[in-house]
Amino acid sequence: MRDVDERNLAAGLAAAAEEAPEPSLDADRLLGAADRRRRRSAVLVGLAVGLAAAIVAGVATLVGVLDDTEDRAPDVTATGVAPSSAAPEPVQLPRLDEGELYVMSRAAGDLGLGQYAAVFTNLRTDDCRCSVTVFLTDLGQKGAFLAAMVAREPLINSTHVLFKQGARPRAECRSLATTIGNGLFAGGLPFRVYSVSPTIECSTIEVGVDDVRAAQAYFDGPDNRWRQEGLALTALPGEPAQAY
């Protein structure tokens, strides 16, 4: 199979580059566009920060999150106090295209599985298609995490990256879910277990069962040998896996 000689290619590229048209870049136009771009970003950041200030009264450190009533784990402030549940309406960020969401998710995922594995729980692309939420066990590192994302992918608009509290690191979460799942599937319980899965922030293990009342009573009672600090077991209606 044919191949191009690398020296030819380098020479060819240098020659081809000379064919580029003369640029007509104007400093004033560039700066004007840059200032408009920065003002747009500042408005979005200001809205998010203002919302956080309304939620967290009297706390110096602001957590830049949007309230999401579906999340089970509360957003914990620097003082360890969960914010009031009577939160104002969340402010919707502009929708992003799939490419931008992909780039953000990829950067966050790479960092979470690598350099930040000790504090990374999970991430999700939010239903609004306007943001990516990263779950960290140590929200004090969100600034560094965000800076690392932007260093990795300069195109990322940081106002569309949100952070929420994770209960435990991903590896620990998976190990815990596996241990609990193996124990529950072993049987000997007053109900049948069909599925075991942690919630996205890993504060809860959701167990699909045939008898929700019996299962929840067990999980809340003294016989639950998987009871531990900071972990809830929740029974949900489940179904047996379908054979293909």
Partner: protein, 185 residues
């Protein structure tokens, strides 16, 4: 503001041509749009005058590469701006023989964005494989593979640099790629 404007004007005067050439290899006739977009994004990150022109240029180049690689997934603006250039299949005659070879710029445009970016970064910008891998967020092996595939694709449609008279400078050499020992990692 005056300092900032002067710094930017100086930078554009000194490096605008080089950035446009780089952008031209990445995306063809949309080069100036690419340079402008990357510069706007770079300048939007700080209010002050750019401190280090070299760092600014490196940043702008990285942004341009990322924009081009993500072009297939991004909003319509970039898709509208990209030139539609002939591929080898467009110039084949009825018998299937290639009747016209393409210029390198046109050949590059036929490569997938990631391959094209690898070629430009390695053979034009002279970046080591490890740095390219870091910028693209992939392994060195992946970069080697991209370069290998790109060279083979180019060999099908480009027959090497030519003198102004049209005479070939060097012919395409049909050899297997030999991996250089001790590539920097």
């Amino acid at each position: 503001m005056g300092d900032r404007r002067e710094s930017v004007a100086e930078f554009v005067a000194a490096r605008g041509r080089a950035l446009t050439r780089y952008a031209y290899l990445l995306c063809g006739d949309a080069a100036e749009d690419l340079v402008q977009e990357a510069l706007v994004r770079a300048l939007a990150r700080r209010r002050q005058a750019p401190e280090d022109p070299q760092k600014l240029e490196q940043y702008v180049r990285r942004v341009m590469v990322n924009l081009v690689i993500d072009q297939s997934r991004r909003a319509a603006r970039w898709h509208k701006a990209l030139p539609r250039l002939a591929t080898a299949s467009d110039v084949r005659d009825a018998s299937g023989e290639v009747c016209e070879r393409l210029t390198l710029a046109a050949s590059l445009a036929g490569l997938p964005p990631r391959q094209r970016a690898c070629v430009v970064m390695h053979y034009y910008e002279d970046l080591p494989l490890a740095e390219i891998a870091g910028r693209l967020g992939c392994g060195v092996g992946t970069v080697k593979s991209q370069l290998h595939d790109a060279r083979r694709a180019l060999a099908e449609v480009w027959d090497g640099p030519r003198r102004p008279s049209g005479e070939a400078v060097e012919t395409v050499v049909a050899v297997e790629t030999v991996e250089a020992a001790g590539d920097p990692v």
